[in-house]
C-alpha cells in the first residue's frame, strides 16, 4: 500500500523518527515487523549464520534454505539485518555501539539467557536511561513459571483457551496454526509504543515485560469471570455454543464446505432468525413452532429464564442442518449479505486469497523477491490517513545490512569490519 501526497512522494510512516534494535527469536518477530510497517527503522540482529528460526519450514518451493523460510519472509519484511555474535566480547562491544543509536530494543530470549551471554539488562538500562527495553516471552521475566518452556501448545493450555476448544467427546484441541506468540508479539508492539510515547515526553525509558500466556487469557473474551460471578466453569462444546446458558449450533456443513452462524434472539439476532426462516420457506416446509416464535423478544435474559424458549433454539439448529446442505458456501454468504443474516463461511487460506473485499481494498502487497519473482503478501492491517503503513521491501538476507548499519550508521571503517569478521563477531 503506497500512498503518495500531492508531490508524488510517498508519505512517511508515523514512526519514521524511531530506530529499533530487534534481538527477537521467532516468537517475537511480529512486533518489530508491525513497527517497521508503521515506518520505524528496524535493525534485526542475527547470530552469525542467521537467526535459527530461519531453519524451520515452510520454505519457498519447499527448498530448505535459511533465505527461503516463509515465516522469516512474512515476519521480518521491512527490517534490516546485521549479524553479531553476542557471545563474543567483540560482538558485545558492537552491540553496545548499536545501543547508542536506538530508541527501543525488542528481545524474546528465555529469561536468564542474555545474562548468560554477558548482557546485563539492568545495567544497559541504567547506562541508556531513555531506552525502552521490551521483552516478549511466554510467562514473563520473573515468577514461579518464568523458566518454563512455553511452545504454543503449552501456552494455550496454561492460558485457558485449549480447555474451551474442541469436541466434548475428545481431548481439547488448539488452533493448528500457532497463535500465542503472535498475540504476545502484537502486545509487545502496542506496549512498546506506550513506553516510547512516554520516553518522548519525559526522556524516561523503561522496561516492558510482556507475557504471551496472559494474552491468551485475554482472548477468552468473557470466560474468566464465570467461576467468580456464576460459580461455574465453561467447558468446550464443539460445534455447539451454550455459553449464554442455552444451546445453539455454531457450525454447519453446507454443500461444499462449512459455515458458521450466530443464533441469538432479541435485538442482536432476531432478524437473522426470521430472515433465515423466510429463506428456508422458499424451498422447505418450516415447522410452525419456529415460524410462530417471536424471536425478536427472545433476548438472553428471556431465554435464560425460560427453558421452553431455550429449546426453540435447539430445534431451530436442528432444522437448519438440512437447509444449509442444499446450498453452497458462496450462495449462502452472498444470500446472507443480501438478507443481513449473521452468517460467515468457514474460509480456508485459498478462499481468503481470492476474497473480493480484500482485493477491492488492495490488501495484498506485491513484494519483489528478485530472481524468485514477485510474491503477494498480506499487507496493510490499518489505513492511517496521514501516515500510511509503508509498502516495505522483502525481508533481509543474513547480514544484508552489515555495511549500511556498521559502516553507514556507526561509521566503522572497512579495516575494522574485517577484524570483527576475523574475530567471529559478525
Amino acid at each position: 500500500m503506497t500512498s503518495a501526497n500531492q508531490t508524488g512522494v510517498p508519505a512517511a510512516g508515523a514512526l519514521a523518527p524511531y530506530r529499533v534494535l530487534d534481538l527477537t527469536c521467532e516468537r517475537g518477530w511480529l512486533a518489530g515487523r508491525m513497527l517497521a510497517d508503521l515506518g520505524a527503522c528496524v535493525i534485526k540482529l542475527e547470530p552469525p549464520g542467521g537467526d535459527p528460526g530461519r531453519r524451520r519450514g515452510p520454505f519457498f518451493t519447499d527448498q530448505v534454505d535459511p533465505e527461503h523460510c516463509l515465516r522469516w519472509w512474512f515476519l521480518n519484511r521491512g527490517k534490516q539485518s546485521v549479524t553479531c555474535d553476542l557471545r563474543a566480547p567483540a560482538g558485545r562491544a558492537l552491540f553496545e555501539r548499536l545501543l547508542t543509536e536506538v530508541d527501543l530494543v525488542l528481545e524474546s530470549f528465555t529469561p536468564g539467557e542474555l545474562a548468560g551471554m554477558g548482557v546485563e539488562v539492568e545495567q544497559v538500562c541504567e547506562r541508556f536511561p531513555k531506552l525502552v527495553w521490551t521483552s516478549i516471552t511466554p510467562f514473563g521475566q520473573t515468577g514461579p513459571h518464568a523458566h518454563f518452556q512455553g511452545p504454543d501448545l503449552i501456552q494455550v493450555a496454561l492460558g485457558g483457551s485449549l480447555h474451551l476448544t474442541g469436541d466434548p467427546e475428545r481431548a481439547p484441541v488448539r488452533v493448528a496454526v500457532p497463535q500465542a506468540d503472535l498475540h504476545g508479539s502484537a502486545e509487545g508492539a502496542a506496549a512498546s509504543l506506550i513506553a516510547l510515547y512516554h520516553a518522548g515526553r519525559t526522556g524516561h525509558g523503561q522496561r516492558v515485560d510482556v507475557a504471551s500466556q496472559l494474552c491468551v487469557v485475554r482472548a477468552l473474551m468473557n470466560a474468566t469471570p464465570f467461576p467468580r460471578l456464576e460459580g461455574r466453569d465453561l467447558v468446550r462444546q464443539g460445534i455447539w455454543n451454550e455459553t449464554a446458558g442455552f444451546r445453539r449450533r455454531a457450525v454447519y456443513a453446507c454443500a461444499d464446505g462449512y459455515l458458521s452462524l450466530m443464533l441469538n434472539g432479541g435485538v442482536l439476532g432476531g432478524h437473522t432468525v426470521r430472515a433465515l426462516l423466510a429463506w428456508a420457506e422458499e424451498t422447505m416446509e418450516v415447522p410452525l413452532q419456529l415460524l410462530e416464535a417471536d424471536w425478536t423478544q427472545l433476548d438472553f435474559s428471556e431465554v435464560i429464564r425460560n427453558p421452553a424458549k431455550a429449546e426453540l433454539f435447539t430445534n431451530l439448529s436442528e432444522f437448519l442442518v438440512e437447509f444449509f446442505l442444499q446450498h453452497d458456501k458462496e450462495t449462502l454468504y452472498l444470500g446472507a449479505l443480501e438478507r443481513r443474516i449473521l452468517l460467515a463461511p468457514v474460509n480456508t487460506v485459498a478462499d481468503i486469497r481470492a476474497d473480493e473485499q480484500l482485493r477491492a481494498r488492495g490488501y495484498f502487497d506485491a513484494v519483489d523477491h528478485g530472481e524468485l519473482g514477485e510474491v503477494h503478501y498480506p499487507g496493510a492491517w490499518a489505513k492511517l490517513s496521514n501516515t500510511p503503513l509503508q509498502n516495505t521491501p522483502r525481508a533481509p538476507r543474513i547480514g544484508e545490512h552489515n555495511q549500511a548499519v556498521y559502516g553507514g550508521l556507526l561509521g566503522i571503517e572497512v579495516a575494522e569490519m574485517v577484524d570483527l569478521a576475523d574475530a567471529g563477531a559478525l
Binding site: 524451520r56 516463509l70 514461579p144 518454563f148 518452556q149 503449552i154 493450555a157 485457558g160 485449549l162 474451551l164 469436541d167 475428545r170 481431548a171 488452533v175 493448528a176 496454526v177 503472535l182 502484537a186 502486545e187 502496542a190 506496549a191 509504543l193 506506550i194 510515547y197 512516554h198 518522548g200 522496561r207 516492558v208 477468552l220 473474551m221 468473557n222 474468566t224 469471570p225 460471578l229 456464576e230 460459580g231 466453569d233 460445534i239 449464554a244 442482536l268 438472553f300 435464560i304 449473521l342 463461511p345 468457514v346 487460506v349 478462499d351 481468503i352 473485499q357 477491492a360 490488501y363 503477494h376 503478501y377 498480506p378 492491517w381 490499518a382 492511517l384 490517513s385 496521514n386 501516515t387
Partner: protein, 416 residues
C-alpha cells in the same frame, strides 16, 4: 514513579462490544480520561450477555461489559435525539481521540464523522473499527468476532480431521484486532505529539486478523499448500498432544520439540521398553510413530495428577496442565504478576477484571475505577469535560437526552 503515560489525554469512546472498548481500555489503564457512550435505549449488547453477578441478568450486572470498561467514565446519551447528537459533537471537539464502531456511514449521517469534526479539531485522532473496513463492497457486512473468526480462516484450522471444524472460543478475532488498533492508534498519537497533526484510522478486523495466518497465506501463495485442521498435531514436533489425567475432564499438554525433551520425557516415564527404539530418538522417527506415541503417553498420564505431572516435567519437557477458568485464579504465575485487578463495582460488588498483559517498570497500568453503570458519570462528564452548569445538566436529564442516576436531594439543595 512517573505520572501515568496518558494522563491528561481526552478520549471519547463512542464504540461498543469488543474491539473499540478494548482499545480505549489500554488508554484508560494508562491514565487517559475516557468517556464511554452508553444508553439504556440502545445498550451495549455486552450488557445483555453473561457472566452476570449471581447469574441474574441485568444491564448493570454483566461482567462481560464490565471487564472491557473499567477506568472509564460512563455517559448515558440518547443519540436518537438532536440534542444528544449535539452533545456527542461537542465531545468530539473536546477529545484528542475518538473511537467508534458504527456501521460505516452512520456517523456521517449525523455529522459526527472525521470529515465533519477535523476542521474544528485538527489534532483529532479518530479510529473506526468494523468487520471488513470502511470501504469496498463488504464495508457494511454486519457481524461479530465469532463469525469473523470463521471468515478469517481460524475455524478451518481448528478441530479434528475426521470431524467438523470447530469454533475457537468466543469472538476470537476481536482479541487480535484490538492489539492492531491499539498499536496504530498510539503510533498516530506519537506522530501527533511530534507534529500536532491528527488523522483518521480505518481498521478492518478481517485484515488485521489474517496477519496471524500470514505464513500460511504465503505457503498457499508460493507452494499451493492449504492449511487444514489436524487435531493437536504439529508439523515439526512429536509427541505433541493433549493427554488425559486423573479426575473429571483433566488433561496435560505435552509438546516435545527437541531430541533433548524426548530424552527427558523418556527418563520421566522411567525408560519403558517401548521407548528404547532408537528410531524415536530423532524427530523423523517420532513423527512417523506419532499415533503410537500418543497412545503410550496417554496410558502413562491417565492416572496421574495433571498439575503434579506438569511440575515434574517442566522445564526439561514442555508440559502444561490444561487450565480451566478456575485454575487461572490459582495459577502462581498470574498471581505473581498480579494479573487480575479486583475492583468494587456499585452493583456487582468486588469483581476481578483482566489486567494488562504487559508490566512496565516506570509507568504501570493502574486500576482506579470499576466499570460504570449506564449513565453513572454523566453529570461529571458534562461538568468537567463540557463545562456545563448544574441547571443545564438537569434540564438535559429531565428531557431524557442524558441518563444519570437519581440525585441525592440534599446534595442537590446544596448545589442549588
Amino acid at each position: 514513579m512517573d505520572d501515568q503515560v496518558f494522563a491528561g489525554l481526552k478520549v471519547w469512546d463512542m464504540s461498543w462490544v469488543g474491539v473499540g472498548p478494548l482499545t480505549s481500555r489500554y488508554l484508560a489503564d494508562h491514565g487517559a480520561t475516557v468517556v464511554r457512550l452508553d444508553s439504556s435505549k440502545r445498550p451495549d449488547i455486552l450488557r445483555t450477555a453473561p457472566p452476570f453477578q449471581g447469574g441474574v441478568p441485568g444491564l448493570d450486572n454483566s461482567m462481560f461489559y464490565g471487564d472491557y470498561n473499567c477506568n472509564k467514565l460512563g455517559l448515558g446519551l440518547d443519540l436518537g435525539s438532536e440534542r444528544g447528537r449535539d452533545l456527542a459533537r461537542r465531545l468530539g471537539l473536546w477529545a484528542d481521540v475518538l473511537v467508534e464502531s458504527f456501521t460505516p456511514g452512520n456517523l456521517a449521517k449525523w455529522g459526527l464523522d472525521y470529515a465533519n469534526l477535523a476542521p474544528d479539531n485538527p489534532g483529532l485522532v479518530m479510529l473506526s473499527t468494523c468487520m471488513q473496513g470502511q470501504t469496498g463492497p463488504r464495508a457494511h457486512y454486519p457481524g461479530f468476532g465469532n463469525l469473523m473468526a470463521a471468515h478469517a480462516g481460524f475455524y478451518a484450522v481448528t478441530g479434528w480431521h475426521d470431524l467438523t471444524p470447530v469454533p475457537v472460543y468466543g469472538a476470537y478475532t476481536d482479541f487480535i484486532a484490538q492489539r492492531f488498533t491499539t498499536t496504530a492508534l498510539i503510533a498516530a498519537l506519537d506522530h501527533r505529539r511530534r507534529t500536532g497533526d491528527g488523522q483518521y484510522i480505518d481498521v478492518s478486523q478481517f485484515e488485521s486478523a489474517i496477519q496471524y495466518l500470514g505464513t500460511e497465506l504465503l505457503d498457499y501463495e508460493v507452494n499451493g499448500t492449504v492449511a487444514e485442521r489436524c487435531g493437536n498435531d504439529d508439523r515439526f514436533a512429536a509427541p505433541h498432544g493433549v493427554y488425559p489425567c486423573a479426575g473429571e475432564d483433566r488433561w496435560i499438554a505435552i509438546a516435545v520439540g527437541s531430541d533433548g525433551a524426548w530424552a527427558a520425557l523418556k527418563a520421566a516415564m522411567g525408560h519403558p521398553a517401548w521407548s528404547a527404539d532408537p528410531a524415536l530418538d530423532g524427530v523423523r522417527g517420532r513423527l512417523a510413530a506419532r499415533r503410537q506415541l500418543d497412545e503410550r503417553i496417554a496410558a502413562w498420564t491417565a492416572k496421574q495428577d495433571a498439575r503434579t505431572l506438569m511440575y515434574r516435567l517442566q522445564p526439561e519437557v514442555p508440559a502444561a496442565l490444561v487450565q480451566n477458568q478456575s485454575d487461572l485464579y490459582q495459577d502462581p504465575q498470574l498471581t505473581y504478576r498480579g494479573y487480575f485487578a479486583e475492583l468494587d463495582h456499585s452493583v456487582m460488588g468486588r469483581v476481578p477484571y483482566n489486567g494488562a498483559q504487559h508490566l512496565m517498570s516506570r509507568t504501570p497500568a493502574q486500576y482506579r475505577k470499576a466499570s460504570p453503570c449506564i449513565g453513572e458519570d454523566s453529570r461529571t462528564v458534562l461538568k468537567e469535560c463540557l463545562g456545563m452548569d448544574a441547571q443545564e445538566i438537569e434540564a438535559l436529564v429531565e428531557a431524557g437526552v442524558v441518563e444519570a442516576p437519581a440525585r441525592d436531594p440534599q446534595r442537590a439543595a446544596v448545589e442549588a
